[in-house]
Structures are given as structure tokens and as C-alpha cells.
């Protein structure tokens, strides 16, 4: 597979209805690592992830993968805050990305079954995906995102509404994927989660990267007043 990383953003901006939601952002994502995107609500975390993944068009600036965008898209995956489940069986949900890329049904299902076992959903394979609980849905979304072995995985607060056990299971899956070489970029609110998983932190404030650095340093001794307030649990506007 052709390497698509690093990803470079140069002066990238997202505006909607004349209002700037994000940017300008200059950023380089290296081929390896686990980045936590942090910041108060409305800081632009989701917009940044969607921009990098190609779900948003930049209003200004540019985004460059190592390969043309169309090729890069095939090697990325995205897990949404509220998982989107297709109205079909759990197994077929996970097999769907393979089917889109021309896999035969049986082969796709076999690999999907394998992934369901990895995320602990093997028993649910034949159930309609729509009856799954929030945690199960998010595990399904993870398996579906990872099944094509993406080079980079974006996650938008995947554990926002989950109980402790689901969160632990999902973090285990993410750690394993990271260990296997998947580049991970995850928006999170949860300082503990960032500490447990992330190698580096991007702190967004008012649509711009306000502070960035190794996770341990950022969490222990933030450089800016806003980051200090954020970590200290204060309300940051």
C-alpha cells in the first residue's frame, strides 16, 4: 500500500455563512502516533477532523496528503460521535466497506466475523444493528472503520456517552490498533482518556491551534492560560 502520510495543512480555514469556524490552521501529521484533539465546546475539534478527512471543504488554504486526495480517501476511516449504523445485520454493517470495494459477499462476511470477534460482538453478528446499545454501536463502528486497515483513523469523541466498561473496551481496541501501526487522531473531552492513550495533544481554542505538544507535558504543565483553565476544569469560552 502506498503511504499517504504525512498530512500537511497550510493556512486551512473553514467558513460557513460568513463565519469562520476553523483556522487558519497549519499542521503536519506524522505517519505514526496517537494525537488527542482537545479544547472547549465549539473550539472546532469536530470541524478540524472532518476537514482532514475530507467531509468539509477548506474555504481557504490547502490540505495535502502524500498522494492525490482520491487515493488518500481509500486509506482513511472515521468514527463519528454518534455512530451511524446501517439498517442491516451487525455482520453486514462491518462487511459493508469491503463490499463497497468489490469484495465477494462470503469473503467480506468472513473477515467481518473475524473483526466482530476482536471487538467482542461475535454473539451479535446476526442481530439487526439498530437494536445495539450505544457502546455496542460504537464497537461496531470501530470494527467497520478498522476492517480495511486504514493508515489513519479519525475519531470524534467516540466515548462521549458511554459507560465505563464500554469505554475500557474501546480504549483497548484503539490501543491495539495504534500498536499495529494505525495513525490515530481522536477528539476527546476526557483528560483521563487523553492521558491513557495519547502521545501528543492539539489544544484548539476559538478555531485555532492554541497549544500543541507531547501529551504528558501538556497535561502536567500547559503553557497557555486557556489550556490551564481547561485542564483545571474551569469553563473556557
Amino acid at each position: 500500500m502506498v503511504a499517504i502520510l504525512p498530512l500537511r495543512l497550510e493556512g486551512a480555514e473553514v467558513c460557513r455563512k460568513g463565519k469562520r469556524l476553523l483556522g487558519p490552521v497549519d499542521l503536519t501529521l506524522s505517519p505514526r502516533g496517537f494525537t488527542a484533539v482537545m479544547g472547549p465546546n465549539g473550539a472546532g475539534k469536530t470541524t478540524l477532523l472532518r476537514l482532514m478527512h475530507g467531509l468539509e471543504r477548506p474555504s481557504a488554504g490547502r490540505i495535502a496528503w502524500l498522494v492525490p486526495e482520491q487515493k488518500a480517501r481509500a486509506a482513511q476511516a472515521f468514527v463519528f460521535q454518534t455512530p451511524v449504523v446501517l439498517r442491516r445485520s451487525v455482520l453486514d454493517n462491518v462487511a459493508y466497506p469491503l463490499r463497497l470495494h468489490g469484495w465477494a459477499r462470503d469473503a467480506a462476511r468472513a473477515l467481518a466475523a473475524d473483526w466482530l470477534a476482536r471487538v467482542g460482538l461475535a454473539d451479535a453478528a446476526d442481530r439487526p444493528a439498530t437494536v445495539l446499545s450505544g457502546g455496542e454501536r460504537q464497537k461496531l463502528a470501530l470494527a467497520r472503520a478498522l476492517i480495511r486497515a486504514p493508515q489513519i483513523l479519525f475519531l470524534d469523541e467516540p466515548c462521549a456517552n458511554l459507560d465505563g466498561r464500554s469505554m475500557r473496551e474501546i480504549e483497548a481496541i484503539l490501543s491495539a490498533a495504534h500498536r499495529d501501526g494505525t495513525r490515530i487522531v481522536m477528539a476527546t473531552h476526557d483528560l483521563g482518556q487523553a492521558r491513557r492513550l495519547a502521545g501528543e495533544v492539539l489544544f484548539l481554542y476559538r478555531g485555532r491551534i492554541h497549544e500543541a505538544g507531547p501529551a504528558a507535558e501538556f497535561l502536567a504543565a500547559p503553557q497557555t492560560a486557556e489550556a490551564r483553565a481547561f485542564i483545571g476544569g474551569e469553563i473556557v469560552e
Binding site: H53, L55, R73, A74, Q76, A77, F78, F80, V84, L86, R87, R88, S89, Y96, P97, L100, D126, R127, P128
Partner: protein, 234 residues
């Protein structure tokens, strides 16, 4: 009240004795409306899905028009189809007026906007759900439409059944283009209109109960089939 009871008794008698005329017109009702629903669905369902996933200049106007066409008055559609198919009209050479085919044509015109509009609404909601995921997975437009139609098949079935409901009970259009000819274009609704005109309310009502029972039976049968299918898949 008495007449309603008589009507029920009459309906029961017609059904129990498998009255030959009744069987004939009931089968013709089914033939005409099921054919019209099949054709209208073949046009309307993909059209609804396409409208849901496409962005083009006059999309809003197209959708508003489609929704308005849902309320097409059957009598007007019947009259237009009549004038089109009449020997002195543009399609007169085919000699289709006063045949079941003409009734199917009129019903297709009535049902297509209804089915497309309901399908569009169902597909639009589903597309709102799926939009981000399918874009993220890099699905082509054909793949998107296929996913919507397949995963929305229950809702699409509902759209088709709504079309069937409107078609099977419709009298205004098929009376005009079919002519209610005995043994040729007489269906349950036109027979009911005829018997009402003759003042034979019991028979008219009896036929009415048969019509309702038929509509219910088709709905239950199709829902039953859909559920069996779902069961084997899930």
C-alpha cells in the same frame, strides 16, 4: 343500520358461494391495481431515492411539485387520459380506451407521484442518517442509492402499499377511462358505483366489504412476506 347488516350478509354470501361475477371483478381489480403499483414503483422508488441524494438547481421546486401531484384529482387524471387515448386524441391509434390497459395507464399517473413522494421522504430521512458514513466510506452515487433502497426497503414497501391503497379504492379515473364495461373493464369500485346508482345498497355495500377485505388481505400478505424475508436475513 339494517342496510349495513344486509350488506355484510350479502358480502358473506357472495364470498361463500364464490360468485363468478364477483371473482371476476375482484381479480380484475387486483390485476389493474397491482400492475399499476408495480409500474409506478419501478418509476417512483428510484426517482424518490435519486431526489433524496442529488443536489441540482430546481430540486426544491421538483420536490414541491411532486408533493402537490400526490393530490391529483382522479377525475381530472381520468379525463386527461381519456382525451389522450380517445380515437380523436393523440394516442387514439392504439385503441386503448375502455380497456384494462387504459385503467392501468390512468392509475400509474395517479400512483407514481404518491409513491415517489413517500419514497423520497423515507429516503431523505435515511440519507440524513447515512450521509456522513457513506461519504466517509467513499461510496459512489450508484452505491449510495443502492444502499438507501436496500436498507430502506421496508419504508419503500410502505410507499408501494400506500399506492396500492389509493389505487384499489379509486373509482373516478378508471370509471372514465375504463367505462365500467361488464366482463371487460368492470372492477369492484365501478361495480359499487353502479349498484349504488341502481339503489341496490345492500349489494353495493356487500361489494364494498369485499373490497375492504381484499385490501386488508393484500396488505397482510405483503407484510407477512416482508417479515419472513427479514427473518431469514437477520
Amino acid at each position: 343500520m339494517n342496510e349495513i347488516l344486509q350488506g355484510m350478509a350479502r358480502a358473506a354470501w357472495l364470498v361463500v358461494t364464490l360468485d363468478a361475477d364477483l371473482v371476476e371483478i375482484a381479480l380484475r381489480s387486483l390485476q389493474v391495481t397491482l400492475t399499476a403499483v408495480a409500474i409506478a414503483s419501478a418509476i417512483g422508488l428510484p426517482l424518490g431515492a435519486l431526489l433524496a441524494v442529488s443536489r441540482f438547481r430546481h430540486r426544491r421546486a421538483a420536490i414541491a411539485t411532486l408533493n402537490a401531484l400526490m393530490g391529483l384529482p382522479p377525475v381530472v387524471v381520468g379525463l386527461v387520459v381519456y382525451l389522450l387515448l380517445s380515437r380523436s386524441g393523440p394516442f387514439g391509434v392504439f385503441g386503448l380506451l375502455f380497456t384494462p390497459t387504459a385503467m392501468i395507464v390512468a392509475q400509474v399517473m395517479l400512483l407514481t407521484p404518491l409513491i415517489a413522494s413517500i419514497a423520497h421522504q423515507a429516503m431523505r430521512d435515511l440519507w440524513a442518517d447515512y450521509h456522513d458514513l457513506l461519504i466517509s466510506l467513499n461510496a459512489s452515487r450508484a452505491q449510495r442509492i443502492r444502499a438507501l433502497i436496500w436498507d430502506g426497503r421496508r419504508a419503500l414497501l410502505t410507499a408501494a402499499l400506500a399506492g396500492f391503497g389509493r389505487g384499489i379504492g379509486e373509482v373516478g379515473a378508471i370509471m372514465i377511462v375504463g367505462g365500467n364495461i361488464d366482463h371487460s373493464t368492470r372492477v369492484l369500485t365501478t361495480a359499487i358505483a353502479l349498484e349504488t346508482a341502481k339503489g341496490d345498497f345492500a349489494l353495493a355495500l356487500g361489494l364494498g366489504f369485499v373490497l375492504i377485505a381484499l385490501a386488508l388481505a393484500v396488505n397482510f400478505a405483503i407484510h407477512g412476506l416482508a417479515r419472513t424475508e427479514a427473518g431469514s436475513r437477520w
